[in-house]
Amino acid sequence: MTANAVSNEDIDAILYYADNYKPKVAPPPDGTTAGGGAKDPKQMGDDTPWQWLIIVVLLLLVVVLSLGGVKNQLKNALHERDGKEAVPERSIWGSIVHWSGNNKSWASIFGFILFCFLIVQGWNWAINIGIYGGEEVAHYKPEQPIKFNHTLHAGKMAINCQYCHSSAEKSKHAGIPSANVCMNCHQAIDQGPVTGTAEIAKIYEAVGWDPTNMKYTGVEKPIAWVKVHNLPDHVAFNHATHVAVGKIECQKCHGPVDTQMDVAEQWNSLTMGWCIQCHNETEVSQMASGAQSNGYYDEIHRRLTETPLGNKELQKYLEDEKITVKELGGWECAKCHY
């Protein structure tokens, strides 16, 4: 680097910016609620009225049971007067069985509804087995060998995601940065605001850096990170397509990494339904010129406009006034499975 690449004023300005930086509000992960940032999933539904509903139902149940008891007592009193045998004492289950025996069609209907309800519940439960992230299931947030803090690096220090995950726009893998990338900064910064020297020392151990003598020892020890985002082997997801061509913000899939993730976690469910929902909604730019134009799509567009068959297809695409990823084949199996 040239000696005077930055002036003192520049450095002051940078320090001022860093001190007074307020992280941008991250876009909501799924576009559920606009503005207010993403919510902790555990707090979801705090103010919903269904608990009240349960209380009302329980109260009603108590009323029904006590009324039933009163009814039975009245009946027994009548029976006693007429000299008949008293109605036998029944437990709640016994009375349900008794009632069912007397009202077979109603019992069948209720039984069927209960059966369907259980099936649906079971299905919904089973569908979430092995799924992490999303709104309903706990996020996968494994402990990492080094307590790397994304909020600090990507948020407070505002380091571009692709500074470390540099292959995201070149390759299918975003890539876990190699430890030598860490050393670009941490050769100088040996102490952090949260964990002090403890975690940074682990990087030094991995790359074989001797901080006291400021030189590499040559003894390297690879870091075994725990993979957070695990796609099945039969899915061919390509980061470059989404980052370099689709120009999608990392946060769209990975959540508010820069504001809420001290420890990396899986934010979205990464299910196929989640994938293709986005493919269904995302519009492919039709701009023929300007920053959003792409010669590849221009050619595809030209083929659509210049031929009768293509035109027919194009009109179908444009029924909702936009061309989505799905319409260009984004829902086809072999786009992701091969």
Partner: protein, 1106 residues
């Protein structure tokens, strides 16, 4: 569900107190006898309880398995600058194993070589017109042997009782250097036995070694020729010898070399027993040069479509492609050459050699000679008979025709095939006489491949120090005292000079996996030189470049460019006048001598396209590639004329000789002198009667030697069995060259049967023109409407389309006009991927199959599964023989339908052959898609028939409904160790060869050709990132990139300027089974043969019609 009703089993139960059996069965079951294990019967668990437990544990295990396992991910500590995880790197390198030579590109992923293709920019194997490097299946399959876990892990030395002790390089070096010094002082010979060395740096290393051990030797100017005056003799030995040719060139022109051929300049090409498309000479060069003259569209007045004559005994790959093929016996080969010679000499006034008549071929010889004379200077005659005399006569023919300087180049000859069989035989004698003190063996396996291997073995025992550089403890290495394993070629630095001034570099694509060292580096170490082999090569190049004035001054730039390109073209020698100086009289007598004593049966030995000389016997991909003609995998066998086999087996009909899953092959016994070989017989139409052909290169590891993971099969008892039988003992040495014919044999059936694995059992196309279409060049070049030779398939409809007021069978419309389906929006929308396959360019070599295997992780299943028709190849090469019977003819003769079909099934005795690569046709109206119950196979709007493995439930309806039979079902988890013995790609190391971009399929799913969708997606991504349309030719499938003759063209049919569209719309294009209306995206091009008779035949039938 409980019920109050009681049922009694019988009256006894009703009357007595109910005795509910505690067990389900009243009498104790004979478990003890059945299981024989007392521990098992002690259980008190009833069957139902057991089932309950089973059900519970199954569901519990299922649920537990749903938990995502913790996956660790270990990035580089310091990432190499040029590696991006997930992005492939391609490195230029060079393949040379002593037999094949090619400039190649090696694809690596995260540092692992996984795929090999030809170098499209440089090298002698590159077709400058198509800008593709031609390679063959042996080369592109060689990547898998890198991950052979049975390779030697480091130097080992024998401890006497047949076992080995591992040693370190330092101690091995010390022992060997001491041994060499001692032997050198004793005055005994020290011999370095290698294959043909064409590496200037290796030659230099040998020279250094020779200087060190004693004597003086100098490297020549070009770094290639080394003058030997040392105690160390360097003997070169080619497993498949060309000594007859090189010796003949010495006698004819004073140069003991193998010439360079340029078949692209040959209007007439005559091969007498040389299978130049598969193994003879330098096939990677031959193949593309041959193919450029076979496309009728490229034919001009100056460069007409070439005319290919083949005289041979076995139907070889070259013979199958020939226009004119003539069956002769091996013993008649010299007579054919002499016949050609005399016919030409008589016309040109040269000396004749006294040709004798060949009854079966005289007419052809005269015709062939006339054509050669008409194409003087634009023809070539080659001969596969490894006999000096015959080759001198061949040289004389070519000299008379003025072919030297045009189709044959002796000035810029090759450096291949320098082997000296006489020297090897002398070595065997010297060893047995005790004159050899030390032998160092590199790249060859004489104990496997010499006819007198027993003598070699006994001699080897008398040699004090025997060092093998083999990567396996194979037949020869296992008898040596030390094994200093060589690195795999993908781990090695190397340089080669295949022709004067043409330097090729091989750079390692991976650091050595094991503790191995390249053999020239070992020689340098033992000479006391320091530094690694890379530095040595660099030094040699620097010296060579500075010594010549026409070489660049800036060495570093030249060196770096050479590494990048893989090739450095320094100079070519100016043509020098050549005069034929051979002694024809002597040659004629030698030639006649070489085939003297022919008996009733003659045996010809040949090498197969896949296995070659046996070097690649441990390559599972090559073992499973079916032979182009016989379609046999995992075996060698005796090729026989069907009529001969019928006679021996006392059968009457060809179909009784059928070999398949239910039909075993007859074992025949071939006896030559004291050598007996029992092998299964395969009827091969086109085989000369009373001759048999046997492939070399099989029977490796017959004594249990370690020759690699896939080189052996296991029988039912788990014992190791070699694959096929070794036929090298049938070779012999005569007149200083190895002979691959044995002329006095007896052949008989043993009565035993043998199970073989074939992938295709039908023989002919049954006269169905909707599958195979062919015509003649004369017919094609009339340029009449394509209907004359490429008729559209017509379909009778229930409408009066011909307006004759009758609705009958004559109301026909083109099949493509009839449509039952709603079209997919493929044409004119986005991309429309398609492929065009030129059946004229396709030679049937099978390089596409192995390229596909390597790109798409196609499973190897082994012979047993092939027998059950469970081969997993995504593409196959259908081979059809012509039949003497045609539908038209048969109907005219009034033959019954069944008899006619039966006759049409029978191939001619000397048939024409038709090769057709078949992969998924990606039908736009795909029958497979409509029957899949789970929509696992669907159509993309880019024209691809997509297969989604994770959705497939394995009903196999699609495979049943596929008219092309291209779908493959995973009957087993081929990925497991069960198949490890046939496929080393499934052990921990072998898995490194898998392409990480393609899913490894598991049991129970269908798979098929995806048209390399991973490449399509990658190509589209590259275009999107660059913001440009996809360039034509930017996306290649593995088969189209791997085709050495450019027969397969892939591209976008919606791109109006694409090459594939031009071909698919050309007059020769047709779709297979067009009449069924599935609208495939793969087009085939009608095969055009450069022959005349067929025309006459067609006219005859037409005349008969009228």
């Amino acid at each position: 569900m409980s019920t109050t009703k009681r049922y009694w089993q019988d009256l006894g139960e009703l009357s007595e107190a109910p005795q509910v059996p505690t067990n389900e069965f009243n009498t104790p079951l004979p478990f003890a006898e059945a299981l024989g294990d007392k521990g098992l019967t002690g259980s008190t668990t009833g069957r139902r309880d057991f089932l309950k437990f089973l059900g519970f544990s199954l569901s519990a295990a299922t649920l537990a398995a749903c938990e995502t396992p913790v996956v660790k991910s270990i990035p580089y500590v310091t990432k190499p600058e040029d590696i991006t995880p997930g992005v492939a790197n391609w490195y230029a390198s060079t393949f040379y194993d002593g037999e094949d030579f090619a400039s190649v590109l090696v694809k690596t992923r995260e540092g692992r070589p996984i795929h090999i293709k030809g170098n499209p920019r440089f090298g002698i194997n590159r077709n400058p017109n198509t800008k593709k490097g031609s390679i063959n299946s042996r080369i592109n399959s060689s990547v898998i042997t890198l991950y052979d876990s049975l390779r030697q892990k480091g130097p080992v030395s024998a401890i006497g009782d047949g076992s080995w002790t591992a040693s370190s390089w330092a101690s091995a070096d010390k022992a060997i250097m001491e041994g060499l010094t001692k032997i050198s002082a004793s005055g005994k010979r020290i011999v370095l036995l290698t294959n043909t060395v064409i590496s200037p740096s290796a030659k230099q290393a040998i020279a250094t070694f020779q200087n060190k051990i004693g004597g003086t030797s100098l490297a020549g100017d070009d770094g290639m020729s080394v003058q030997v005056g040392s105690k160390v003799d360097h003997i070169q030995y080619d497993t498949i010898s060309y000594g007859g040719i090189t010796n003949a060139n010495l006698k004819s022109f004073g140069k003991r070399v193998f010439p360079s051929y340029d078949l692209s300049k040959a209007d007439v090409l005559v091969s007498v027993g040389a299978d130049f498309l598969s193994g003879w000479g330098n096939p990677t060069e031959n193949v593309w040069q041959y193919a450029v003259r076979r496309r009728p569209e490229d034919a001009t007045a100056e460069k007409p479509m070439s005319r290919h004559w083949q005289f041979e005994a076995r139907m070889s790959l070259s013979g199958a492609n020939a226009d004119m093929r003539c069956m002769v016996k091996p013993s008649e080969i010299p007579s054919v050459v002499m016949g050609l010679h005399d016919a030409i000499a008589k016309k040109l006034g040269g000396a004749t050699v006294g040709a004798t008549s060949v009854a079966s071929a005289d007419g052809h010889i005269a015709e062939c000679a006339a054509e050669l004379l008409a194409a003087k200077g634009k023809s070539v005659v080659i001969c596969g008979h490894n006999d000096e005399g015959t080759q001198v006569i061949v040289n004389s023919i070519n000299a008379m025709l003025g072919n030297y300087g045009s189709t044959i180049d002796l000035t810029n000859h090759t450096f291949f095939k320098q082997g000296d069989d006489a020297a090897v035989q002398q070595l065997v004698k010297d060893m047995n006489a005790g004159n050899v003190g030390a032998i160092l063996i590199a790249g060859v396996n004489p104990i496997y491949s010499l006819p007198n291997s027993a003598e070699f073995a006994s001699g080897l025992k008398k040699v004090g120090l025997s060092v093998s550089f083999s990567s396996h403890a194979d037949e020869t290495a296992s008898l040596c005292s030390v094994i200093c394993p060589d690195s795999h070629w993908l781990e090695s630095w190397n340089d080669f000079m295949p022709k004067p001034g043409h330097y090729a570099l091989a750079q390692p694509a991976i650091t050595p996996l094991f503790d191995t060292r390249q053999w020239p580096e070992s020689l340098l170490t033992w000479s006391g030189a320091s530094g690694n082999y890379h530095d040595h090569i660099k030094g040699v190049w620097q010296a060579a470049m500075t010594s010549r004035t026409d070489m660049p001054v800036d060495f570093t730039t030249a060196w770096n460019t050479s590494i990048h390109n893989g090739v450095y073209e320094a100079y070519t020698n100016a043509a020098e006048p050549l005069a034929f100086a051979g002694n024809l009289t002597e040659a004629a007598s030698t030639a006649k001598e070489s085939v003297k004593g022919a008996g009733e049966w003659e045996v010809q030995l040949y090498t197969k396209e896949s296995i070659g000389s046996g070097l690649h016997a441990n390559n599972p991909w090559l073992q499973e590639v079916p032979d182009p003609l016989t379609k046999v995998t995992w075996d060698n066998y005796v090729c026989m004329a069907p009529a001969d086999l019928l006679r021996l087996t006392k059968k009457t009909e060809i179909k009784e000789l059928r070999i398949g899953e239910q039909d075993d092959a007859h074992i025949v016994k071939v006896t030559i002198g004291n050598t007996v070989l029992e092998l299964p017989a395969v009827p091969l139409p086109g085989q000369t009667p009373m001759t048999v052909s046997i492939a070399l290169g099989y029977g490796r590891g017959a004594n249990g030697e370690n020759v690699g993971r896939a080189a052996c099969l296991h029988n039912d008892d788990g014992n190791v069995m070699p694959i096929g039988k070794n036929a090298y003992p049938l070779t012999s040495v005569s007149n200083g060259a190895m002979k691959y014919v044995a002329l006095n044999a007896s052949v008989d059936v043993t009565g035993e049967m043998y199970q073989m694995g074939l992938t295709q059992t039908q023989l002919t196309g049954m006269d169905r023109e909707s599958i195979i279409k062919e015509t003649t060049f004369a017919e094609w070049s009339k340029h009449e409407p394509r209907e004359t030779y490429n008729e559209k398939e017509m379909l009778a409809v229930h409408e009066d389309v011909n307006h004759d007021d009758h609705i009958d069978a004559r109301d026909k419309v083109p099949a493509t006009d009839v449509n039952l389906w709603k079209d997919h929006p493929v044409a004119e929308v986005g991309h429309h991927w398609g492929m065009a396959i030129d059946l004229n360019s396709c030679t049937g070599c099978g390089a596409c199959i192995t390229a596909c295997n390597s790109e798409n992780n196609v499973s190897v299943v082994g012979k047993d599964e092939v027998r059950r028709s469970r081969d997993m190849h995504w593409m196959r090469l259908d081979r059809y023989y012509s039949s003497d019977t045609t539908w038209e003819e048969g109907r005219e003769k009034g033959e019954g339908k069944i008899g006619l079909y039966r006759k049409m099934e029978e191939p001619s005795a000397s048939p024409k052959v038709f090769f057709m690569p078949v992969m998924c046709q990606h039908c736009n109206h795909a029958p497979c898609e409509t029957v899949c119950p789970v929509a696992a196979t669907t159509h993309s709007n880019e024209g691809l028939n997509m297969m989604t493995y994770n959705r497939c439930i394995g009903t196999r309806y699609c495979a049943n409904n596929c008219p092309y039979k291209v779908r493959r079902f995973n009957w087993f988890n081929y990925v497991t160790e069960k198949f490890g013995e046939v496929n080393p790609a499934w052990d921990a190391l072998g898995r490194m060869v898998l392409n990480p971009d393609v899913t490894v399929r598991s049991r129970g799913v269908i798979e098929k050709c995806s048209l390399c969708v991973q490449q399509i997606q990658g190509g589209k991504l590259a275009a999107k990132k660059a913001g440009t349309p996809v360039k034509d030719g930017a996306i290649e499938t593995a088969c189209s990139a791997g085709c050495p003759t450019n027969a397969i063209t892939f591209g976008d049919l919606n791109d109006k300027n694409s090459k594939v569209l031009a071909i698919a719309e050309s007059e020769r294009a047709y779709h297979m089974l067009e009449e069924i209306g599935v609208k495939p995206n793969i087009s085939y091009m009608v095969k055009v043969r450069n022959i005349e008779e067929e025309v006459a035949h067609v006219h005859e039938t037409e005349a008969a019609h009228n």
